[in-house]
């Protein structure tokens, strides 16, 4: 893992001290709320419905056990004993007091964590494949490039006041676990025919009130030219982005307005003015960062494990966990373990302080001290020996963390919604819970197979409903919560935007509607078709009929 050096540590300590002083000035009245708000937002502190919320950055979703333990400590000491992992691979604490927030930043800084650029119109936490460094599918380690972007974008003076927030995702595998195509910039590492490493650069994707799947503006950017090219993209955006209208200020609107070709032309023109020696990272620096992510001390192990096979044969619950939550690792004898934060009665993405400690312990003992957060609001132990899987499973099970539902119908993304968020129109969490409970039967969930439901409590789409196989959007209809269903979205490599199925419905009607959609799918699917494939093949008609039949 990448480690902060003395300069980084000193900077974080200074920054925490600066915030303590700013909070003091706000409390004394020396700063008004209008003056203070941008300062607290620069440190990830929002005022939500019931309290302040602190969003802590987890660069490319990568944590060690020491950091996870500290997050648990913060949850226990300054919150109500839990935290909420987000679709930007970050964590949010929902019950923070302003007066105590400087103490929390101190605690974070001690373990190289902070809340910088988790809010505001700047480059936010860069997300990456949570299987980085563990999956055999990857061309290169996306963390190397994400860390480079982190260093480059942190407090970048030219890009600290963009027209609007800016989100970058990096993946290096054919299977996209980052939703790269619905980011402001999605970077997909590839090798060209000559074997040279480069990025497919996708710009202008996004969700919110005007969703777009981003177009590719360059098929193969030489990897070493990444920073200068990003600079060129950001410059074009900074110059022409719509600062006059917050709803049209994201880069996706600019790309759509100019058209892919014209936007790409302007970027190339800007790029041609940048001198690589000044704008790109030196090879020595790249090599230094790469060294921090060098392959860990993997043991040489056989490809199979008697302990693993025996546990699968002897314990159906473990076998189910292995089928759904355990993924192949690039090293023989190892596996990637996904920890579901989607127990059927739980809040999607929430983990208690005790659960965080359990994950930290398991990472320390069994996963080379490495933990990842996924954009689907789950956790990952990326390097677990097959031999250790039964032990890890038992510990997860004891902590309520062994729900075997990764990628299945109850593995739902949901934003905090009206239960917490000042922007929300409707609740998202109880909708997720009602669906998860309806489909609690694990056999049935496996029969249904991959089905991604994503729920947002308002048009800002933090719950990614535009790219849900089934998307659910909470709306406010004359003061009552109403829910609009959409179908056919995907945030993966086959990205597409979901389209609205029909009229909205009450919260109580949602599980029945989902059930009708699922029953229709099961009745008409062909072969190995996923739900999404069936929707794409047959269109909306049978699904619409099933959901709205009673209304006719």
């Amino acid at each position: 893992m990448y480690r902060y050096d003395a300069i980084d540590k000193e900077f974080l300590a200074d920054r925490a001290n600066e915030f303590r002083e700013q909070v003091g000035r706000r409390l004394s009245g020396a700063l008004t709320e209008d003056q203070f708000k941008p300062l607290r937002l620069m440190n990830g502190l929002y005022l939500q419905l019931h309290a302040y919320m602190l969003r802590v950055a987890i660069p490319y979703g990568s944590l060690d056990s020491r950091q996870m333990r500290r997050l648990a400590h913060i949850a226990r000491t300054w919150d109500k004993g839990y935290g909420h992992f987000t679709t930007r691979q970050n964590i949010q604490f929902n019950w923070i007091k302003l007066g105590q927030s400087p103490d929390i930043l101190d605690q974070l800084a001690e373990v190289d964590l902070h809340a910088i650029q988790t809010s505001g119109n700047c480059i936010r936490n860069t997300t990456a494949d949570p299987f980085a460094g563990a999956t055999a599918e990857e061309i290169d380690d996306p963390r190397v490039w994400s860390e480079l972007i982190r260093q480059w974008s942190t407090l970048h003076p030219e890009f600290s006041f963009l027209p609007r927030k800016f989100k970058i995702a990096v993946t290096a595998a054919a299977k996209d676990r980052t939703a790269a195509r619905v980011h402001d910039i999605g970077l997909v590492l590839r090798r060209n025919r000559d074997g040279e490493l480069g990025f497919e650069v996708i710009v202008g994707g996004g969700q919110g009130r005007t969703p777009y799947v981003g177009p590719t503006i360059r098929e193969h950017l030489p990897a070493g030219r990444l920073l200068s090219y990003l600079e060129a993209v950001l410059r074009v955006y900074n110059r022409h982005g719509r600062r006059d209208n917050i709803y049209k200020a994201r880069i996706k609107i600019l790309v759509a307005a100019l058209g892919r070709d014209e936007f790409a032309r302007q970027v190339e023109e800007e790029w041609s003015k940048l001198e690589s020696a000044l704008a790109d990272a030196p090879d020595t620096e790249l090599a230094r960062i790469r060294g921090a992510f060098a392959p860990l001390n993997f043991e040489t192990l056989p490809a199979t494990s008697a302990a693993f096979d025996a546990a699968k044969a002897g314990d159906p619950a473990f076998a189910r966990f292995a089928r759904n939550n355990v993924k192949p690792h690039k090293k023989s004898g190892y596996a990637i373990v996904e920890i579901s934060l989607k127990a059927h009665h739980a809040t999607p993405g929430d983990a208690s302080a005790d659960q965080m400690d359990v994950v930290a312990d398991l990472a320390g003992r069994f996963s080379l001290d490495d933990i990842r957060v996924t954009h689907e609001q789950n956790l990952v132990l990326p390097h677990v020996k097959l031999d250790d899987l039964p032990t890890v499973f038992a510990a997860l099970q004891a902590a309520g963390l062994a729900t075997p539902n990764i990628g299945l119908i109850s593995d739902i993304i949901a934003c905090p919604g009206l239960d917490y968020c000042a922007l929300a129109n409707a609740r998202a969490i109880p909708i997720a819970q009602s669906i998860a409970q309806r489909f609690e039967d694990a056999d049935r969930a496996e029969l249904i197979g991959e089905l991604k439901i994503k729920i947002s409590g308002c048009i800002n789409a933090c719950g990614h409903h535009h790219v849900g196989n089934i998307g659910i959007l909470g709306v406010d209809k004359k003061g009552e919560e109403f829910y609009q269903l959409s179908l056919g979205g995907s945030g993966q490599e086959d990205a597409s935007l979901a389209k609205i199925l029909g009229p909205g419905m009450t919260a109580e009607q949602v599980p029945d509607a989902i059930e009708a959609l699922v029953d229709t799918y099961l009745a008409i699917r062909e072969g190995e078709e996923r739900f999404l494939d069936t929707v794409r093949r047959v269109g909306f008609a049978p699904f619409k009929e099933a959901v709205y039949a009673d209304a006719h």
Partner: protein, 120 residues
């Protein structure tokens, strides 16, 4: 009728206006008649207390079967706490005031916030 609410600066707690004081329970909030100029006047006073509260505003309230409650669902939620964690927030205390809020249904406007759109 109307009441005045805000978030307390130091901790973000939802608070309500009562005769010049900020209190945590909606059930104890002061009520203002819709046409009572004392309501907007109190909001003006509250705006001057910038080291105490953030963003005070009027909300619509109605008397339901169990007692008074904010008209809007959002404001009832602020007065109670998150529905996914019934032991968190004000609702944990229980009692008649909380019961009244939980029993209230329906809503008349999206936010219940009277001056959300400020016209100059």
């Amino acid at each position: 009728m109307k009441a005045i609410t805000a978030n307390r600066l130091i901790d973000g707690e939802v608070v309500f206006w009562k005769s010049g004081q900020w209190i945590e329970r909606f059930a104890e909030a002061e009520h203002f008649a819709d046409d009572d100029a004392a309501g907007p006047a109190a909001v003006e006073t509250a705006r001057g207390q910038s080291t105490v509260v953030v963003d005070p505003y009027l909300i619509d309230i109605v008397e339901a079967a169990g007692g008074w409650a904010p008209v809007s669902y959002r404001e009832r939620l602020r007065a109670l706490g998150p529905t996914n964690e019934p032991t968190h927030g004000k609702q944990a205390e229980g009692g008649a005031g909380v019961e009244a809020l939980l029993a209230a249904t329906g809503a008349a406007r999206s936010t219940g916030r009277v001056d959300l759109i400020r016209r100059k």
